[in-house]
């Protein structure tokens, strides 16, 4: 994938934020398995998951992953090249000063973690230097967060709704925000690897 043709450069970005819900698990595992191990931007993932199941999810994602995935602790310092997964029953916020903050506040769109909140706080911190990626999902969580990310100058990508197991989430995002790229999961991986 040629970034220049898209009018962007590697150095434009400092972080990636990914949102997903029903049907996104396979896509995430594929991304993690095929992403270049040298990809060094931090990746923040807000994925809908069972509230009361703390263990197992990260282990499942880690099985074939090229990257180290952690569920951050509150105020954990952000490191390059790490993948951060929002823990069960917590919202994951990005905090000024290169930190992650967690919150147990009200559910948003019936979700905790909420994709909207991770996208909103991440784009507040990284402004134009962030890529937001929305994957398959069955509710509207994330659409507003994508809108905020775009308004602050971030770069927006959604998984091609035709490829999504459930396209409610990607379609909701596309309906209220100008999406820069609509890509299949294969091409999302190519895009990310072009940033290395």
């Amino acid at each position: 994938m040629n970034l220049n043709q898209l009018g962007i450069e590697k150095t434009d970005f400092k972080a990636v934020v990914i949102g997903g819900s029903a049907g996104s698990f396979q896509v995430i595992t594929k991304i993690l398995a095929e992403i270049n191990p040298k990809f060094d931007l931090p990746i923040f993932m807000a994925l809908h998951r069972l509230k009361h199941v703390r263990n197992g999810f990260i282990e499942a994602l880690a099985l074939k992953s090229n990257k180290i995935i952690v569920e951050p602790e509150d105020k954990e310092a952000i490191k390059k090249g790490m993948v951060y997964l929002a823990p069960a029953n917590y919202h994951m916020f990005l905090e000024l000063g290169n930190k992650i903050a967690l919150s147990t506040e009200e559910m948003v769109n019936n979700s905790r973690p909420s994709i909207d909140l991770t996208f909103d706080t991440a784009s507040y911190v990284y402004k134009t230097k962030i890529i937001g990626i929305m994957l398959s999902g069955a509710n509207r969580d994330g659409a507003w967060g994508m809108k905020k990310l775009k308004e602050r100058g971030g770069f927006t990508i959604v998984q091609d709704p035709k490829e999504c197991t459930i396209d409610t989430m990607t379609t909701a995002a596309m309906n209220i925000t100008k999406i820069d790229l609509v890509l299949t999961s294969e091409n999302i991986i190519k895009f990310l690897n072009a940033l290395v």
Binding site: E73, D74, N89, E105
Partner: protein
Amino acid sequence: MIEDIEISELRNLCQVILEKYKYDFNNYAMSSFKRRILRILEIYKISSVTALIEKIKYDPIFFKQFLNEITVNVTEMFRDPSLWRDLRDKILPNLFSTHQTIKIWHAGCSSGEEVYSMCILLKEMGVLDKVKIYATDIDEPILAKAKEGKFTSKNMIDVNEKNYIRLGGLHKISNYYTETTGGFVKMDQSLVQNVTYKTHDLVKSGVFNKFDLILCRNVLIYFNQQLQNEVFKMFHESLFNYSYFVIGSKETLIWSDVSSKFIVVNSEEKVFKKVKE
């Protein structure tokens, strides 16, 4: 609807609150504090932070509501059932092996779900009358709610009961409340006979007693690290030597000044033991 808030506006707001009401929000975590402010602007239909500052300056009654909204009051009974199992099977028996009576502090108890969880646990262990509990919060209205012990039936069934079953409680959780009107349940008040509710601001109120067990779960996540560090020191001072300290499952004190004065008892459930004065 207001779209965004600048950090400088939040600083101004904190300054006014500190001067007028002596509450210090300067070291609250920015991301969540900003969200709470946006939420307040929306709920009360206030057009800007400047307008909010004016309202707070001249309306002390509104400030109480503000305080109530700024604090996160989402909680559940027996959140993380595996922690409660550890308390029941290890931590509390351990304390009772050397103590006739113990003192517990629920710091930032919000609407009281965790206090009731503890009392139910203690009752099922047969030691409820051997425990003195202090439950504190910065927010008076929420303490009044905790005292009342009224929870929504929906939460009781959707969240609390499920957690209680996962914990493996002795009975049915419905043994501990009665249905009331309007979709609420009222908790059995005999459970909380030994509970003292008290307003306490973790930022400024300081040490007020000594404890054998302190629980402060998912409260300090709303503070920045500098403030967390100060509060950890205060908790350390409030604990007897060889007593226990429990924080949220995704919190840590490992980087704090008092970290070397605690040992980790359960790393998953974030149970620490004070081993040094």
